[in-house]
Amino acid sequence: MSENGDMGHHDEHDHDHEQSFISKYIFSTDHKIIAKQFLITGIFWAIIGGALSVIFRLQLGFPDMDLEWLRPLLGKWITTSGKLDSEFYLALVTMHGTIMVFFVLTAGLSGTFSNFLIPLQIGARDMASGFMNMLSYWFFFLSSVIMFISLFLETGPAAGGWTVYPPLSALPQAIQGSAAGMTLWLVAMVFFIASTLLGGINYITTVINLRTEGMSFSRLPLTIWAFFITAVIGLLSFPVLFAAALLLVFDRSFGTSFYLSQIYIGGEALPNMGGSPILYQHLFWFLGHPEVYIVILPALGITSEIIATNSRKPIFGYRAMIGSMLAIAFLSFIVWAHHMFVTGMNPFLGSIFMFLTLIIAVPSAVKAFNYITTLWKGNIVFTPGMLFSIGLVSFFISGGLTGLFLGNSAVDINLHDTYFVVAHFHLVMGSASFFGLLAGVYHWFPKMFGRMMDEKLGYIHFWSTFVGVYLVFFPLHYIGIAGFPRRYYSFTSFDAFSTFADLNSFVSIAAILTFGAQFIFLFNFFYSIYRGRRAPANPWKSNTLEWTTPVNPGHGNWPGEIPKVYRWPYDYSKPGAEDDFIPQTVPYSATPESNTDYENELAKPEEVTPKVKAEDEA
């Protein structure tokens, strides 16, 4: 890339002149390449995670089906009678959850967009430490390899649910998946935590220290605010998961009793005394609940940006958006026990956690309200990215509402561990965050690859997925209210649930079709990388800094000086302005026609760098 040459000229010892293929695409320290590595790995995992769910949906929807045809793939996990092995069913559910929550919606989402957008939108050449950033990806890669290998173990991968509660997960004799599969799960997660922390430390440092001139915190795009807050949450919560996992490792492999006490297994008493499995749940959910916000906040940030741009209106309540994200971040650390209402906790404690939990509905509602008011009376441009963002808002609302039921400690006695919970979090977290990821890909694809994705295919992809998601997850509410527990191998063994057999088949068919629709996206994505229409410099007429770089930015992002920032990123359809957008790089002194009185005051002392490319190496 020619820009690369330019850059090398500026800072000799920073960027190699001639980068080999390896240092450019494999062990790259360029945040844009690392972002793409996260994206591609995330897509790989999404396909695996989705495929696993199709397999267990087959079991749930069509329990009598002959699955002999899966034997080439699954081998001995198909029983002699052509059914899915019941322990392997649990392994599938566990791996589906682990993969989706951690590998796709944490690493795939934050890893891709925090890396890609933070330097580009705050006006930095790269992350604070390119090396740590590279390390972050390769730890994730290593973690992925280990988790992937665990899928092929003789005893199968981990099978205790994505939350890996002991004692099930601590005792290899309890279930096959708690043998080697669980060990690899823990090892993989340790690398994953290291990766997340390295990435997060970098994001925070970069946002705080490397913003370009004029980019005050009150001028940061909401994407950056979201990534920043997400990274802070991760920094505070992932170490706790590490602590929980560490104690679990010692219980499993060294015979300690942190989580174990008075257990009889196969008629034999274990020596472990004095531990408590509830302790694990406290530690896990102290990460686990913040984790769900780590998953959703970046998606909400992406949505804010895309909805404002494509409504051609300033985001409604910029400060309220920031405030609600901060409130959510704070609250997310003091509600974890709502996952434990039925662990025998003191009902008084339960009502405290219920109160704190329900408060979260307030900032969440503020966000939903602000999205809708931003859309209200906007000149909406329905790009695929915009549609996916609106879809996210829809899921966030419909899934958030069921949270209010679950947050009620009395109602939760009935609903806990049923499909109602599954419906809740697949809408509010899974689908919403997944839509944020897709919206981001459609929106920033031109910046990533210099080409456009096909819009028509994007629309087909959107509608089939949007309708599909509701068809899959809405019925699960009913199944859950009826009392069907999650993580059960079979519906049909209980008479009470046989009336739901048809509904379950319906859900399974919808799930398979929705999964199939993702291949439209995959085709569109990979085809457009090579054959897409060439992208213009600013395809969505957006205000943020990334669109001031060359169409294919090189290492260092801007060939000349880094642009200065003079205004916030949401000057869309400003009264009096010529265009319906004013990029952040346009000084107030250049827009007297649209300035408010206050902005005219700001314009006076502005020092505007002349448009001429400044000679470097002063």
Partner: protein, 194 residues
């Protein structure tokens, strides 16, 4: 050495409050703090649930606490000497810190022996296991600190630590004082909970 520093200077990007690496160091410290906060909270929760063993606090902890405070002092001595460009004293300070650190590690090992002497093993009631975890995990972080000391020492011999190049020894000192503070926290925590 650092990518960012030169990027910062040449392109008019404002350098805000802190050196990015030092800042990142603080963030790392925060994550370590979270590990220990969660482990000590787990200790409290578990203790409150009962089925808890009363353990005689190893006497050796008093000694190791003094050792680690001394090591912080000697590293501070090295740090001040670096400001004054006194190379000999930098090296002396860092070496003394390293020796005290090794003594601390040996001391922690001896305190484990004290635990074993009263039949408190790593495997057994969590009341005992937790003490092993606290001390073991702290020492693991301390070993990282010793490696860092080694790097500073090597650079001190290469004349790379002086009043105009303080970042590394400063970060090393920050981390080291943090480890000292962390141990004192654990020490007090264990005393107060026994």
């Amino acid at each position: 050495m650092s990518n960012t520093a030169s990027i910062l200077d040449k392109n008019g990007v404002m350098v805000r409050s802190m050196h990015p690496k030092k800042f990142a160091m603080w963030l790392f410290i925060i994550s370590v703090v979270m590990v220990f906060i969660s482990l000590t909270s787990a200790y409290i929760v578990k203790k409150a649930e009962g089925d808890w063993l009363l353990i005689d606090f190893p006497k050796m902890f008093n000694v190791t606490s003094i050792l680690i405070v001394m090591s912080s002092a000697s590293l501070h001595f090295a740090y001040i000497s670096a400001k004054q460009n006194n190379l000999f004293r930098i090296r002396l300070g860092v070496v003394v810190t390293g020796v005290l650190a090794l003594a601390f590690i040996v001391g922690q090992y001896l305190s484990w022996r004290e635990l074993v002497a009263q039949d408190v093993f790593f495997v057994g009631n969590p009341a005992g296991s937790f003490i092993y975890i606290f001390t073991g995990l702290h020492v693991a972080h301390l070993v990282g600190g010793v490696v860092f000391l080694g790097i500073v020492l090597v650079n001190a011999f290469r004349y790379k630590v002086h009043s105009k190049s303080m970042a590394q020894i400063e970060m090393c000192a920050t981390y080291w004082h943090f480890l000292g503070g962390l141990w004192l926290y654990l020490y007090l925590f264990l005393i107060l909970n026994n």
